[in-house]
C-alpha cells in the first residue's frame, strides 16, 4: 500500500456485511479503502457485490454490520442525503436527471441558494457553477434543457452536480459504458483533473483496459469477498481477469470467415420517423448475407433503435423497403434481442420458464396450438438454464427477481435458440461481466456459423470489432461509413460516430 498515515485515508469500509437473502452475503466481510488524489477501480463480475458496497458507501443501503470511516471518523448513513453531507457522491449508471429541467436547474436541485421566501437565487448559483466549470475544465451550456443532450454531456452534468455539493469522494458506476471513445477520453481528462485537485475517485467498471489506463489501485471482488487489492502499475489484465473470475479466461473467441452468398436481409432506401415525427432514418440501404455478422456502430439516438424496430416490424416505415428471405414462413420469424429488455424483452411478473418461451409458445414443442405443454416447456427451460448458466437455477423463479445480467441471458437464450434466419441484436452485453459477455459473444458467433444472418447494434466498439464481418457507422440517421473491422480501429470508428468523418455520399 501507499506510504500514507491512517489519517489521510478518505474512505475506509471495515468488515462490511450485507445480505439480501438469508444464507448468502452480497458483501461478505469486505474491507475497502481509498485515498485523496487516487483513482481507485472496483472490479468484479455481475453480482460480485460492487454495487452493493458502493450503495452502502452512498447511503442507499445500510450494512448489516461493519463500519464506514470518512476521513478517519465513523459515519452513519441512513440516506444518500447523509452521505452527501459528508462529501460522498455518486454518478449512477442510469443518469439521475430531470429531463425537462435546464442543466443549471439539475445541478442545483436539492441544494439551492435562495433569497427570502425560498426564492431561488439563480444568479448566485450560476456563478458558482461557472467557477466549477472553469476550474475543472468541464464544458456544458447551463441553459440547455437536459433531456435532449448527448449522454457524454449528461454525464458531465452529473459530475458537476457532485462538485456543486462539494463532494470529495466521487463514485462513478460504469461511467464509460455508453460513451464514444472521444467522450471517454474527455471523461478521463476530467477524472485526472479531479484527482489532481485531491478528490477520491472510485470507479466501478467492467473494462480492464480502462482500469489499467487510469486507475492507481484496484480492488477486486468475487462473490461478495475481496480477492485482491493491487497497485495498477504492478498488475496485468490477465492477472485481474483471473482474480475476477477465479480462473483464467479462455482465449479470444475465434472468428470464422464470413458466410455464404444467400441474401437474408435487404434494406433499400429506408426512411423512418421517430416517436416525435421527425426523421430518424434518412435513407439507409444495407444487405446482410447468411452467416454474416453486420455490426452497426453509432452514438445512441442516431437511428439505430428505429432501424432495429422497423426490421422487426415494430415501427412503421415511411419510405423504402425491407426484404427478409423466408419471412413468409411464419415459423421462421426474426429473433430480436432488444436494447430495452424491460420494455420489449421480458415480462417481469412471469416466471423464468414462461419468459423463455415468450412469443414461441405456438411452436410444436411447447403446445398443440391450444394448450401449453408444461412438461416440455419445463424440460426445455432446464436445459437452457444449464446451458446459458442462468441464475437462480430455478425455472419457476419470477423474472423480476433475476439480476440484470441474468435477465439478459434469458432473453438471449430464448432468441438465439429460436429457429430463425435473421437475428437482430441491440447491445447484447451491456451491463454484463466478462464471463457472461464472453459467453454471449461465443453464442453469437456459433449462431452465425450455423448460417444465421446477424445485425449487431452496439456502442461497445471492441465488441463490434471482435465479432463483426462488416461495420457500418450511423450518424444522424444515415450510414456515414462502412468499415472493415480488420483494418479499422476504435478511434477511426469514433470519428465517424461523431460526424467528423464520412466515406459515403
Amino acid at each position: 500500500m501507499r506510504e500514507q498515515t491512517a489519517n489521510s485515508v478518505s474512505v475506509q469500509l471495515i468488515d462490511i456485511v450485507k445480505s439480501f437473502q438469508a444464507g448468502y452475503n452480497a458483501n461478505d466481510h469486505v474491507n475497502f479503502s481509498a485515498y485523496p488524489g487516487e483513482i481507485h477501480a472496483l472490479i468484479g463480475e455481475n453480482g460480485a457485490g460492487k454495487s452493493t458496497l458502493m450503495n452502502i458507501l452512498y447511503g442507499m443501503y445500510q450494512a448489516d454490520s461493519g463500519k464506514i470511516l470518512i476521513n478517519g471518523k465513523e459515519a452513519k448513513f441512513r440516506s444518500p442525503a447523509d452521505a452527501i453531507k459528508l462529501g460522498v457522491g455518486m454518478v449512477h449508471q442510469h443518469f439521475m436527471l430531470v429531463n425537462t429541467f435546464s442543466v443549471l436547474e439539475n445541478i442545483i436541485l436539492g441544494d439551492e441558494d435562495t433569497f427570502r421566501f425560498d426564492v431561488i437565487d439563480m444568479k448566485r448559483s450560476k456563478q458558482k457553477v461557472i467557477e466549477l466549470k472553469k476550474s475543472f475544465e468541464i464544458n456544458v451550456e447551463l441553459d440547455d434543457i437536459s433531456g435532449g443532450l448527448a449522454v457524454g454531456i449528461q454525464q458531465k452534468i452529473e459530475i458537476l452536480k457532485l462538485l456543486y455539493r462539494n463532494a470529495e469522494i466521487m463514485i462513478l458506476d460504469e461511467p464509460t459504458a455508453i460513451l464514444t471513445p472521444q467522450e471517454t477520453e474527455e471523461l478521463f481528462k476530467t477524472l485526472a483533473e479531479l484527482k489532481n485537485s485531491g478528490k477520491t475517485i472510485i470507479l466501478i467498471t467492467h473494462k480492464l483496459g480502462e482500469v489499467l489506463a487510469i486507475s492507481d489501485r484496484v480492488t477486486v471482488l468475487r462473490r461478495g469477498k475481496v480477492t485482491g487489492i493491487l497497485k495498477t502499475n504492478q498488475t496485468s489484465s490477465n492477472e485481474l481477469a483471473k482474480m475476477i473470475t477465479g480462473r483464467s479466461i479462455e482465449s479470444q473467441v475465434i472468428k470464422k470467415s464470413a458466410g455464404g452468398e444467400k441474401i437474408i436481409l435487404e434494406v433499400n432506401d429506408l426512411y423512418i420517423n421517430n416517436d416525435r415525427g421527425s426523421l430518424a432514418i434518412n435513407g439507409i440501404s444495407l444487405i446482410i448475407k447468411e452467416g454474416e455478422i453486420f455490426g452497426i456502430a453509432g452514438v445512441e439516438g442516431n437511428g439505430q433503435e428505429e432501424l432495429a424496430e422497423a426490421i422487426c416490424g415494430l415501427r412503421k416505415i415511411s419510405k423504402g423497403t425491407i426484404n427478409i428471405a423466408g419471412i413468409d414462413d411464419f415459423k421462421k420469424s426474426i429473433a430480436h434481442i432488444p436494447a430495452n429488455r424491460h420494455k420489449y424483452g421480458i415480462v417481469k411478473e412471469f416466471t423464468l420458464e414462461e419468459n423463455l418461451i415468450l412469443g414461441r409458445e405456438k411452436e410444436e414443442n411447447f403446445s398443440n396450438g391450444w394448450i401449453l405443454n408444461n412438461k416440455k416447456i419445463n424440460e426445455f427451460s432446464e436445459v437452457i438454464i444449464e446451458e446459458y448458466d442462468i441464475r437462480p437455477e430455478n425455472s419457476k423463479a419470477l423474472m423480476e427477481g433475476l439480476s440484470g445480467g441474468n435477465q439478459q441471458k434469458a432473453v438471449a437464450a430464448r432468441e438465439m435458440t429460436k429457429n430463425s434466419d435473421l437475428v437482430v441484436i441491440s447491445h447484447p452485453t451491456r451491463g454484463l461481466d466478462i464471463l457472461a459477455s464472453e459467453f454471449v459473444h461465443r453464442t453469437i458467433l456459433e449462431e452465425s456459423k450455423k448460417g444465421k444472418a446477424i445485425l449487431l447494434i452496439s456502442s461497445d466498439l471492441s465488441e463490434l470489432l471482435k465479432l463483426s464481418d462488416k461495420i457500418a457507422v450511423m450518424y444522424n440517421g444515415r450510414i456515414t461509413g462502412e468499415l472493415d473491422p480488420k483494418s479499422t480501429n476504435e478511434n477511426e470508428i469514433g470519428e465517424y460516430m461523431t460526424g467528423l468523418k464520412s466515406n459515403k455520399r
Partner: protein, 291 residues
C-alpha cells in the same frame, strides 16, 4: 352583442369561474408533484358543506371559510395516505373519495339539518359589507403566488423534480413523499376554498352541489398544459361558456350543448389538436424505492 358585453356579464363570467379556478390551480400543485387529483370534486363538495356547518354554528363567514379549508385538507390527506403512503392507484383513490364525500356530506346534512338534500339558508359574504368580491381578489393573488411558487422557488423546483423524476430527486436527498404530500394538501386547501365560494354564493348546501366542477377544473388544468396561467385561462373559458348558457337560456340554444363544451374541449386537447399536452413524466405513478 352589446348587451352581452356589459360589465355585469364580465363580472358574472369571473364569478362563475371561481369554483373552477381554485381547484384547478390546486390541481397544478398536485400534478406537478406527480399525483393525479381527480378527488378535487370530493374536496370541493366537502369544502362547501364544511363552510355551511361553520357558519351555521358560529354565525361567522370567516369560520366557515376556515372550515372549508380544513375539510379540503382532510380529504387531501386521505388521498395522500392512499396514494403516496400506500401507493394505491391514484384514479381509483380519487373516485372512491368523491363517492365518499358525496355520501358523507348527505349523511351529516340529514343528521344536522334533518334533510339530506339541503341545508337552511345562512349568511354569505354580503355580511362583510365589502364593495367588491373578496374571492376574486383571492383568486388573483393565488394565481400570482402559484406562478411564482412553481417557477421561481425552491419548493416549485423540487415539486416539479418529484413529478418528473422522483428517483433523481430521491438521490439528491429530497423526500419524494414530503413534496408530494405538500402538493396534494395545497390542492385540497384550494379545492376546499372553492367549495366555500359555492356555498357562500348560494347561502346554503345542496347535495352534490359541486356538480362536476372538480372534474372540469382538472380538465382545465390539462387544457392549460399543467401551467397555472394556462389553467386559469381555461377556467375563464369554461366560465364564459357557462355565462353564455345563462344568457341564452331562453334563446333556443340548448343549454346542454354549451354545458358539453368543456368536455369536448378537453377531448380535443387530449387528442393533441391544440399542441401537445405533456403531463409531468411521473404523473400518476406511485414512487417506490428500488432495493
Amino acid at each position: 352583442m352589446q348587451e352581452i358585453l356589459t360589465a355585469a356579464f364580465v363580472l358574472q363570467t369571473f364569478r362563475i369561474s371561481i369554483p373552477y379556478l381554485l381547484p384547478s390551480l390546486g390541481a397544478v400543485y398536485s400534478e406537478k408533484g406527480g399525483v393525479v387529483n381527480i378527488a378535487l370534486e370530493g374536496m370541493l363538495l366537502s369544502g362547501a358543506f364544511a363552510a355551511i356547518i361553520g357558519i351555521y354554528y358560529t354565525g361567522s363567514v370567516l369560520t366557515g371559510i376556515v372550515c372549508s379549508l380544513l375539510a379540503g385538507i382532510i380529504v387531501s390527506i386521505l388521498h395522500g395516505l392512499i396514494t403516496i403512503t400506500f401507493k394505491a392507484n391514484q384514479i381509483v383513490s380519487g373516485i372512491a373519495l368523491n363517492i365518499f364525500a358525496f355520501g358523507i356530506t348527505k349523511f351529516f346534512c340529514k343528521l344536522i339539518f334533518g334533510s339530506s338534500s339541503n341545508s337552511p339558508r345562512v349568511i354569505g359574504l354580503e355580511s362583510w359589507g365589502l364593495p367588491f368580491n373578496p374571492f376574486l381578489l383571492i383568486c388573483v393573488l393565488i394565481l400570482i403566488i402559484t406562478v411564482f411558487a412553481i417557477n421561481r422557488t425552491k419548493f416549485g423546483l423540487r415539486l416539479k423534480a418529484v413529478g418528473q423524476n422522483p428517483e433523481a430527486a430521491d438521490s439528491l436527498g429530497i423526500s419524494v413523499s414530503k413534496m408530494r404530500y405538500m402538493g396534494v394538501i395545497i390542492s385540497g386547501a384550494l379545492a376546499g376554498l372553492g367549495g366555500a365560494w359555492l356555498a357562500l354564493d348560494q347561502h346554503s348546501f345542496t347535495d352534490g352541489m359541486s356538480a362536476g366542477r372538480g372534474y372540469i377544473a382538472l380538465a382545465a388544468m390539462i387544457i392549460g398544459k399543467w401551467k397555472p396561467t394556462g389553467a386559469a385561462l381555461a377556467c375563464l373559458l369554461f366560465g364564459l361558456a357557462e355565462s353564455f348558457t345563462l344568457q341564452f337560456q331562453s334563446s333556443g340554444v340548448p343549454t346542454q350543448f354549451i354545458q358539453m363544451l368543456p368536455y369536448l374541449l378537453t377531448i380535443i386537447v387530449l387528442a393533441g389538436f391544440i399542441g401537445k399536452a405533456t403531463p409531468p413524466a411521473a404523473d400518476g405513478i406511485p414512487y417506490e424505492k428500488k432495493d
